[in-house]
């Protein structure tokens, strides 16, 4: 339990700092809302860019290593097709997981 004395400091100070990041734009939203077309275009790119930057490393390089032979590249390609074809969360997760299980059974 050597951690205990400072753990709560980290929880509270770290939580406060993280809350500042979370609130950075939201708390002052009325002042940062984009009025110009240019800024609106840039803001419109954020969801696609952020989601791609989250999805691909998590799917293909979860431990930082790049494995080209394992099931991950196959799952990524098939899931991408399902995702764009169905635009459905459930079907993409279900299809992807079924494929993972299927590939595992084939090995």
């Amino acid at each position: 339990m050597g951690l205990t004395p400072t753990t709560w400091v980290v929880i509270i100070v770290g939580g406060a700092v993280t809350f500042l990041l979370r609130g950075s734009f939201l708390v002052v939203a009325e002042r940062v809302v984009s009025t110009s077309e240019d800024r609106r275009l840039a803001f419109r790119m954020l969801p696609a860019a952020a989601l791609a930057a989250l999805a691909f490393p998590a799917l293909l390089r979860p431990d930082g290593a790049l494995e080209l032979t394992g099931p991950r590249p196959i799952v990524a390609v098939v899931a991408l097709v399902i995702a764009f074809w169905t635009r459905s969360l459930i079907w993409t997760i279900a299809g992807g997981l079924l494929l993972v299980v299927g590939l595992d059974a084939l090995r």
Partner: protein, 220 residues
């Protein structure tokens, strides 16, 4: 809100791993709950615990936490464009439960969703179940221990959910460019220190999408 439920479920393995890892470095149940409820950021929590365990000073821990959580600024910026008409108290409360998953689920709901539903309800309808789920999973992980750490294949669920949500966010040439550049760069920068690859890749994607969008305007 409906979309939040499978995502909340898909977070079970990761939440339990974070809870388990926290109990392994000597955290009591109260501290696990404190981290989950107040800190509410899995990757940064794991890094902070590792540093705490190694005896790092507080400022090193804080800088690491800021670097890992910097991506939350992007979500805050993006959400602010949809919630700016709400009272500040509502936006402050919303900020408290903002996370990768809450942003991913709600922004896609807002973009393609029912215009009758206020963006704030889209957001809270996703963020609150996800926050509650995280509390349950991390506490279960701390209590149930390593039991869950190797649930087969479920580690694919969250990346698959992000991929599905990405498909709803990619609607035209600029967003294709944004996603392609961000995804490719994030793959290359996966080992960058303090998870810096993700925000750098995402902002590069924004620039790429912006450039493509501007060129489209000139030709139109």
């Amino acid at each position: 809100m409906i979309a939040a439920l499978p995502v909340a479920l898909a977070m079970l393995p990761y939440g339990m791993v974070v809870g388990y890892a926290s109990s392994q470095v000597g955290l009591g149940l109260a501290e696990v709950i404190g981290f989950s409820a107040i800190f509410y950021a899995g990757a940064a929590q794991l890094a902070a615990l590792e540093l705490l365990d190694a005896g790092a000073p507080l400022w090193v821990i804080l800088i690491t936490v800021i670097a890992i959580n910097a991506r939350l600024i992007m979500y805050s910026a993006s959400m602010s464009q949809h919630l700016w008409t709400e009272p500040r108290a509502h936006r402050t409360a919303a900020a408290f439960v903002l996370s990768d998953h809450a942003y991913a689920v709600s922004i896609t709901g807002i973009l393609r969703g029912d215009k009758e539903i206020r963006p704030l309800w889209h957001f809270l309808g996703a963020a609150i179940p996800l926050w509650l789920g995280w509390q349950v999973w991390t506490v279960s992980g701390a209590l149930a221990g390593g039991l869950v750490a190797d649930l087969p294949h479920l580690e694919f669920a969250i990346p698959l959910a992000f991929l599905a949500l990405l498909a709803t966010a990619v609607t035209d040439k600029p967003t294709v460019a944004a996603a392609t550049v961000a995804g490719a760069l994030a793959l290359v920068l996966v080992n960058a220190p303090a998870n810096a690859g993700m925000p750098v890749a995402a902002l590069s994607g924004v620039l790429a999408g912006y450039a493509v969008g501007k060129r489209g305007q000139q030709w139109a």
